[in-house]
C-alpha cells in the first residue's frame, strides 16, 4: 500500500518533465526517423513511402561527404583545443595572482556574448585589408589575406571563433572543480616531495576526471550543434568549405524545403551523436575517479 502510493506520487512528480520530453524530444525523433523513409510532400504529389531512397541520395551526394569531413575536422580541432585551453585558464585564475577577478571576467566574457554578436565581431577581424587581423599583420609586413574567402583558411577561421567562444564556458566547470579539491591532498603530495608538474599530473588531473568527462561530452555535442557563427561568417562557403552537418540540414530543410532528405540527414547526425555519447560514458567510466 505504502509503496504503491509512493510509486504513484513519483510518477505524478515526473509527469510534467515526461510530457515535455515526449512532446519535444522523443516524439520529434520518432517522427524524423519515419519522415526519412518518406518522400518530401509536394502540392501535386503527397508524401509516400520511398524506402531507403533518401539514404541512397545521401551516399551519392558529394556535399554530404564534404560536410561530414568538415565536421570531423571541426570536432577534432575544437574539442581538444577548447578543453585544454579551458583547463589552462582555470589553473591560471585558480592560482593566487594579482588581478585574478579581472582575468576571470575576461576569460568568461565570450561565453556571455550571443554567438551571432561574437560572429559579427570576428567578421570585422577577418575582413581583408582593413580588418583587425590584417591591420596587425601589415605592421610586420604581411600581405592582406582573404581569411573567409579562401577554401584553405575559412574552416580554420570558424574553428578559431568556436574555440574562443567555448573555452571560457568550460573553464567555469574546471574552476569549480579545482576549488573542491581539498588542499590537504596537495599539501600531502608536497610533503612527499612532489614537484608542481607531478602534483598536476598525479593529484589534480585525476581528481578533475569527472569534470573532464562532462566537459568532453559537452564539447562533442557542441562540435556538431554550434553553427550560428557559420551563418554570419561564411554561409557554409566558399564551395562548402565550412559546410558542416547541422548547417547542411538547415539548408536542405529550410532552404530547399526537402523534408525527406533533411530527415535522413538528421537521423544520421542523431545516430552518430548517440553512439559517441554512449561510447564516451562506457569507455571513460572505468577510468574516471569519482569521490
Amino acid at each position: 500500500m505504502q509503496s504503491r502510493q509512493s510509486t504513484f506520487l513519483a510518477l505524478a512528480m515526473a509527469l510534467p518533465a515526461m510530457i515535455l520530453l515526449v512532446a519535444f524530444t522523443h516524439f520529434p525523433i520518432i517522427a524524423t526517423v519515419v519522415d526519412s523513409f518518406l518522400s518530401t510532400p509536394k502540392p501535386r504529389r503527397p508524401s509516400h513511402y520511398v524506402g531507403l531512397d533518401n539514404y541512397n541520395t545521401m551516399i551519392a551526394d558529394p556535399i554530404f561527404w564534404k560536410a561530414l569531413t568538415n565536421n570531423l575536422i571541426y570536432a577534432a580541432a575544437t574539442i581538444p583545443v577548447s578543453v585544454a585551453l579551458a583547463l589552462a585558464m582555470a589553473l591560471v585564475v585558480n592560482s593566487k595572482i594579482k588581478g585574478r577577478g579581472l582575468l576571470r571576467m575576461a576569460f568568461f566574457t565570450p561565453t556571455v556574448l550571443p554567438m551571432i554578436a561574437v560572429a559579427n565581431i570576428w567578421l570585422f577581424f577577418f575582413t581583408p585589408t582593413y580588418g583587425a587581423i590584417d591591420q596587425i599583420l601589415s605592421i610586420v609586413g604581411m600581405h592582406a589575406t582573404n581569411w573567409l574567402g579562401s577554401t584553405q583558411t575559412a574552416l580554420l577561421c570558424v574553428i578559431i571563433v568556436a574555440v574562443w567562444k567555448e573555452a571560457g564556458f568550460f573553464m567555469i566547470f574546471y574552476l569549480a572543480a579545482l576549488q573542491t579539491i581539498p588542499p590537504d591532498l596537495i599539501e600531502a603530495a608536497r610533503i612527499e616531495g612532489a614537484d608542481r608538474w607531478q602534483i598536476l599530473r598525479r593529484v589534480t588531473l585525476p581528481l578533475l576526471g569527472p569534470t573532464t568527462l562532462f566537459v568532453a561530452v559537452n564539447a562533442v555535442i557542441n562540435a556538431f550543434r554550434t553553427v550560428d557563427h557559420i551563418f554570419v561568417l561564411t554561409g557554409g562557403g566558399p564551395d562548402n568549405a565550412t559546410n558542416v552537418l547541422m548547417y547542411e540540414i538547415y539548408l536542405v530543410g529550410f532552404g530547399f524545403f526537402d523534408q525527406g532528405y533533411a530527415a535522413a540527414l538528421t537521423v544520421v547526425l542523431l545516430a552518430g551523436l548517440a553512439l559517441v555519447a554512449v561510447g564516451q560514458f562506457v569507455l571513460f567510466d572505468k577510468r574516471v575517479h569519482y569521490r
Binding site: T127, A144, N146, G237, P238, D239, G255
Partner: protein, 429 residues
C-alpha cells in the same frame, strides 16, 4: 437589488472596451514581410510608406515585418504558410517565382485585378521585370525593389592611371586592360588599389549572369527546368572572371565580399566594381571622388540580369484580406511611389510612368547615372529563375566559389553544377 455605483461604472467601462475592440477588429490587418538587401535606412522608409497608406486607406492596418535577407524571408514565409499562419503579402525574390508557385503558396494577381484601372496598373511595368513574374499566362508578382548590376568606376583613379575618366570600358577586353592599369602596388608589392572587384561571396550567380548574358548564352530556359551551366560560353565566362584574379592579378584572390564591395569602392581600395544599382544611394553619399556608372561591358553584345524583389500575395486567406493586401501593393508600386523609392535607394523605378514624374525628372537631371540602369534594361534577361531555385542557384554559386578560390577549373566545376541541377530539375519536365 441595487447595483452599486462602482460596479455600474465598471460595467460601463467594460462595455466601452468591448465595443472598442469590436471597432478595432473591423480593421483588416495586412502583415507584410520584407527583406533588406542594400545599405541605407530602409526600415524607416518602409514604415513611412505604411503610415501614408494607413492614412489614405482607413480600415486597413499595415504591419511591416523585417525578415532578414531574401533567403531568410522566403524561408520564413514558406514556414509560416506551412504552419497555417501566413502573412498577407511579402517582398520576395523575383527568382523565387517557381519556388512559390510550386509550393502553391501565392495567388495570381490577375484574380484581384478586375477593374480596367487595375489591369492598366499591372500592364504598366517594364517588360524586362515581368519576364519572371508570369507562369502559364498568369501574373503572380508586382515589381517593387528591382535592380540590375552596373559598373561603377572611380574617375580619379582613371585619371591617375592615364585613362579617360569619362569613358567606361565598353567590352571585356577593355575592362581587362583597364583593370590591369588601375591596379596599384606599393614598393613592397602590396596592392593598395585593386583594378576590379566582381564580388563572389553572395549574389555570385547573379553577377556571373551579367557575363554569360553578354557572351550570348542563356543559363536557363524560360520554363525554369533546363539549365545550360556547362555550355562552352558559360565556361568561357567563368574563366574570364577567374583570370582577372589569377592571371592578371587585378582582382583580389578568393571570394570577395558582396557586403563590403561598395565600401571598398568608396574607400578607394578598388577602382571598378560590379554591384547593384540599389547601392547607388550609399555610394553617392559616401564617395569623396567623382564616379561614373555604366553598362556591364559587352562580349557578343551588352547584357545584364534583372534581380531584386517583387510583391506576392499569399493563398488561403480571406478574400477581404487579399483585397486589402492588393490595395497595399498597388499603393506601394504606383508610379509616384516607385519614383520616390528609386530616388531614396537607387533601385530602378519599375515603370516608364515613374520616369515622367517631375521629381524623377529633376533627379535624373541632378544624378544622370540613375538613367543608365533604366537604359540597360533593353539588354536585360531575368536572373536564373528555376524550379527548386535555392538548390539550383547554390549549385551554380558553389561552382563559381570553387573556381574563384582556384580549387577547381571552370569546366569540371560547371559540369558538377549542371549535374546537380539536372538531378534537382528532373521532376519538373
Amino acid at each position: 437589488m441595487r447595483i452599486s455605483r462602482a460596479s455600474f461604472a465598471s460595467a460601463l467601462t467594460l462595455m466601452a472596451i468591448l465595443t472598442g475592440t469590436q471597432f478595432a477588429a473591423a480593421d483588416t490587418e495586412v502583415r507584410f514581410y520584407y527583406p533588406i538587401a542594400v545599405g541605407g535606412p530602409l526600415t524607416k522608409i518602409i514604415d513611412g510608406y505604411a503610415a501614408e497608406f494607413e492614412a489614405s486607406h482607413p480600415g486597413i492596418k499595415v504591419k511591416p515585418i523585417y525578415t532578414g535577407d531574401y533567403i531568410q524571408t522566403t524561408a520564413k514565409a514558406l514556414t509560416a504558410v506551412r504552419g497555417g499562419d501566413s502573412p498577407e503579402c511579402a517582398i520576395m525574390l523575383a527568382a523565387d517565382l517557381y519556388t512559390l508557385t510550386d509550393a502553391d503558396a501565392v495567388i495570381p494577381l490577375d484574380d484581384l485585378a478586375t477593374t480596367p484601372e487595375d489591369k492598366k496598373w499591372l500592364a504598366g511595368f517594364y517588360p524586362a521585370f515581368m519576364e519572371n513574374a508570369r507562369v502559364g499566362g498568369k501574373t503572380y508578382a508586382a515589381p517593387f525593389q528591382r535592380s540590375t548590376p552596373v559598373l561603377y568606376w572611380n574617375k580619379e583613379a582613371f585619371k591617375e592611371a592615364g585613362l579617360d575618366p569619362d569613358k567606361a570600358p565598353a567590352n571585356w577586353d577593355e575592362m581587362r586592360e583597364d583593370a590591369k592599369k588601375l591596379t596599384k602596388r606599393d614598393a613592397s608589392g602590396n596592392v593598395t588599389r585593386w583594378g576590379i572587384q566582381i564580388p563572389t561571396d553572395g549574389n555570385a550567380a547573379w553577377l556571373y549572369t551579367g557575363l554569360t548574358t553578354a557572351d550570348d548564352v542563356k543559363l536557363i530556359n524560360s520554363d525554369g527546368n533546363k539549365t545550360a551551366f556547362n555550355d562552352p560560353r558559360a565556361v568561357e565566362s567563368l574563366k574570364y572572371l577567374h583570370d582577372l584574379s589569377y592571371v592578371d592579378a587585378s582582382q583580389a584572390k578568393g571570394l570577395t565580399s558582396w557586403g563590403t564591395t561598395p565600401k571598398d569602392f568608396t574607400e578607394g581600395k578598388v577602382a571598378m566594381i560590379w554591384h547593384t544599382t540599389g547601392s547607388l544611394g550609399v555610394i553617392r553619399k559616401n564617395a569623396t571622388f567623382g564616379f561614373g556608372l555604366g553598362y556591364l561591358p559587352a562580349k557578343a553584345h551588352f547584357g545584364a540580369p534583372t534581380g531584386g524583389g517583387n510583391f506576392y500575395i499569399f493563398k488561403g486567406l480571406s478574400a477581404e484580406k487579399q483585397k486589402a493586401a492588393f490595395e497595399f501593393i498597388k499603393f506601394m508600386t504606383s508610379a509616384d511611389r516607385a519614383a520616390d523609392w528609386s530616388i531614396q535607394t537607387g533601385y530602378v523605378a519599375t515603370q516608364p510612368a515613374s520616369w515622367e514624374t517631375p521629381v524623377m525628372k529633376a533627379y535624373v537631371k541632378d544624378v544622370p547615372q540613375a538613367a543608365v540602369a533604366r537604359d540597360q534594361l533593353q539588354f536585360a534577361v531575368p536572373e536564373v529563375t528555376a524550379h527548386e531555385s535555392a538548390r539550383v542557384t547554390k549549385a551554380l554559386n558553389d561552382a563559381i566559389a570553387a573556381v574563384m578560390t582556384d580549387s577547381k577549373s571552370a569546366q569540371p566545376a560547371l559540369d558538377e553544377a549542371q549535374r546537380q541541377a539536372e538531378i534537382a530539375l528532373k521532376d519538373y519536365r
